[in-house]
């Protein structure tokens, strides 16, 4: 799930190479500490939580589908499927990769109301992400959530998040 490299390595940008790109799928998460770009595409009602420790540039990205594992029937434990369990796992993995949980900052993207058929999923995901982050004492420094638009996310070295919406609108958080 994560792809950390041992700290002390020279990063790709130090060597003048384009940074490594790591894709994060639906219901998945990844952590990097080598200057790689974390990417996730096609965020609809799902929510992406991007966490960075700005001091070490240890970054992690979660792409969660549902708010909480409570009340669901599932036989395969897959923490990153849910906002609450995914966030816990992400913080643990960031700590193992050299990030300090006390220094983490969050950026929140997605949670769109894509379909009338399933309208409640997106807002519930965002609500749960806000609650879980508050409980963990992690401040949300920027967010781009809601509306009825799909988004693609690139989590850049340094902690900025580039968001491209399906209508072509781009912004950096």
């Amino acid at each position: 799930m994560s792809h950390p490299t041992p700290s002390g390595d020279r990063t790709a940008s130090d060597r003048g190479e384009p940074p490594r790109r790591v894709k994060v799928g639906v219901g998945d998460l990844a952590v990097v500490n080598d200057g790689a770009v974390l990417m996730t595409s096609g965020l609809g009602s799902c929510v992406a939580v991007a966490l960075v420790d700005p001091e070490t540039d240890t970054r992690g990205l979660l792409h969660a589908m549902l708010p909480s594992a409570d009340g669901t029937v599932s036989y395969t434990p897959r923490p990153a499927k849910y906002v609450d369990s995914g966030l816990e796992t992400l913080v643990d993995e960031l700590a193992s990769a050299g990030g300090s949980p006390g220094r983490l900052e969050a950026r929140l993207v997605g949670g769109a109301e894509m379909l009338d058929l399933t309208a409640a999923v997106g807002p519930r995901n965002v609500e749960r992400a806000r609650e879980s982050l508050e409980r963990a004492g992690i401040p949300i420094v920027a967010s781009d959530v809601g509306d009825a638009v799909g988004r693609t996310v690139r989590f850049l070295p340094g902690g900025e998040v580039a968001v491209r919406a399906a209508d072509g609108f781009e912004r950096t958080l």
Partner: protein, 400 residues
């Protein structure tokens, strides 16, 4: 003979792990980051496979299996992708055949290790044999003659370079089917053990193998009905390219749909089974088919007029799709009014997947590509039925 769809899920997980090992091995060989995009298990008849592989040239390796798993396994690359693969392998094109053989050997070895662990028995593998094959000749001997094989398909995607390809795994049908069945029986007595704890045996999801085949043919019939309805509505000639019933991790469905913009309609299905159905066109196809249906050229390619036309088309396609099921399954299935969608494809299906994911991790996906002649238009139909309800209906089907 019964197959627990959850045991099939465990098999799928093994195939996924095998593909991950293959991706890691290829990543190390080529120096690029490879990710497994999608792994699915499909239940297909020989006839369906022959159709699906028609016109495709494959290059790969085959091995014979003995011990824990018998038969043959094949790993195939699309011939069109082979130059891309060779260009990133050590030795490049000059290594050709031996590089492919080595890659295939590593990937198949990884795949089978997972199976051997799961089965608790060693699997012997004959040395890999390189082949180049047209169409369905890629498949192991006997696959086309039987009433069905399990096909594992994984798509690998390189993030750094332009290199995408698929790996097909075709364990010999009969013995493999018995294994899934045998393992199901074991899982049922042993509780929720097995690969990653995901093979928990419950009677609610065990279905007779024969009705799984029946449902696969229903998928095909549904697509044909939908295509006929497009034809009647638009006067355009339509054909169904590929229609298969696949068993995939739900989380993989959005990436399979892809990140290109799509337009189309989404429906909620009510009845037995309930679920969702999405009919998705590329923007160009959506605009072309809408224009063909409208009496005059619309002001905007995908404006309100086109939206109404696509909703109407979606309605008749969906009716065609589910009528066939309801007849054969002996149940009543209705659908919601169409909801028009126009966004990134994967973002459109993610709420449907999220909704089903509350109760299941894997899903049956019926995908069909329907093509219209004369007007350049093509759409993909994704039917996502509730796993338990489908299993219950299939169970009843076998009793009648």
């Amino acid at each position: 003979m019964r197959v627990d769809v959850r045991a099939l899920g465990a098999c799928n997980r093994l195939a996924e792990r095998g593909a991950e090992r293959a991706a890691n091995a290829l990543g190390e060989l080529t120096g690029s980051d490879l990710a497994v995009e999608v792994t699915g298990a499909s239940v297909a008849t020989g006839e369906d496979l022959a159709e699906a592989f028609a016109g495709r040239e494959s290059i790969g390796v085959r091995v014979g299996l003995d011990g824990g798993l018998e038969g043959a396994a094949v790993l195939a690359f699309d011939a069109e992708q082979i130059d891309g693969l060779l260009s990133v392998l050590p030795g490049g094109a000059s290594m050709g055949r031996s590089a492919v053989t080595e890659v295939g050997n590593i990937a198949l070895g990884g795949f089978l290790d997972g199976w051997a662990n799961y089965l608790g028995r060693a699997i012997d593998m004959t040395p890999p044999r390189y082949f180049e094959a047209d169409g369905a000749a890629v498949l192991p001997d006997g696959a086309l003659a039987g009433d069905g094989v399990f096909l594992f398909e994984s798509r690998l995607d390189a993030t750094g370079t332009d290199l995408d390809f698929s790996i097909y795994m075709l364990p010999d049908s009969g013995p493999f089917r018995d294994l899934v069945v045998g393992k199901t029986a074991t899982a049922a007595t042993a509780g929720a053990e097995g690969a990653g704890g995901s093979a928990g045996g419950t009677t609610t999801t065990a279905v007779p193998y024969e009705s799984l085949s029946t449902f696969a043919s229903l998928a095909k019939r549904g697509s044909a009905n939908a295509a006929d309805n497009i034809g009647m509505m638009t006067g355009l000639e339509t054909t169904v390219d590929v229609s298969r019933l696949r068993f995939v991790p739900l989380a993989d469905v959005p990436s399979e749909v892809g990140t290109e913009p799509h337009a189309g309609t989404v429906f909620e299905l009510r009845g037995e089974p309930s679920g969702y159905l999405a009919i998705l066109f590329s923007e160009e196809s959506a605009a072309a088919i809408a224009e063909a249906m409208l009496p005059m050229e619309p002001d905007e390619p995908l404006g309100e007029m086109a939206e109404n036309a696509l909703c109407e088309l979606g309605n008749v396609m969906t009716s065609g799709f589910i009528d066939g099921w309801a007849n054969v399954l002996g149940t009543s299935i209705s659908h919601s009014p169409p909801e028009f969608v126009h966004d990134i494809g994967s973002a459109t299906v993610s709420p449907l997947v999220a909704s089903l994911s509350r109760r299941q991790d894997y899903g049956f996906v019926i995908d069909a590509a329907i093509r219209t002649e004369g007007v350049q238009a093509r759409c993909d139909v994704y039917a996502l039925p509730d796993e338990r309800e489908l299993a219950a209906v299939l169970e009843r089907l076998s009793e009648t």
